[in-house]
Symmetry: C2
Subunit: 110 residues, 2 copies
């Protein structure tokens, strides 16, 4: 399996969990400490640490020290791996079909 296939495996595996998606949504717009994530989501710090480990292994979050705190943030290059799969994969003929349907709906309205 090449690197990009392994990266997609890790990305999709990491995203296949509602708590991990909730953590990503939390750290999307602001950096958060483990304790803040745990409180926000009503999870134990131990569970949050486990999920962060999976998300980091998939390259979806980064962690960095800020003074005495360890803060986590979304890693956009990691998200781009999953987004790129759908952008590349989207069937061209289906996009064409969608455009044709939209255009025929638009035409009905005159």
């Amino acid at each position: 399996m090449d690197d990009s296939a392994a990266a997609l495996d890790r990305t999709f595996h990491a995203l296949a969990d509602p708590n991990r998606r909730a953590i990503l949504a939390l750290v999307r717009n602001q950096r958060c400490a483990v304790g803040e994530i745990a409180t926000s989501l009503g999870l134990s710090q131990q569970i949050v640490s486990h999920h962060l480990k999976v998300l980091r292994a998939a390259g979806l979050v980064t962690g960095a020290r800020s003074g005495t705190r360890h803060l986590f943030a979304v890693r956009v290059e990691g998200l781009a791996v999953g987004k790129g799969f759908f952008d590349d994969f989207w069937p061209e003929r289906l996009s064409a079909l969608k455009r044709a349907v939209e255009s025929s709906v638009g035409g009905g309205r005159d």
Copy 2:
């Protein structure tokens, strides 16, 4: 867990496997029988049937009889579930940052 969270779980779980992504790529533009998929990918029919079961449970492929054959095709509504996650999730501030970087690169060429 609500229905959409469960659908995302199933979608990402199904996509976290290189053989299942290869099957999706095969049935994206043309309908295929299990045997054709197995031959194309060098897998046993048993393994392909297992992967198709996971893909169908996730709503990513459909199967239908065509005469005496059973043909599988990609299901675009299923793909849209995963694509929608990235479209909704993409951090607005990061898009803005990307635009700013691209615009400054463009400006440098002038």
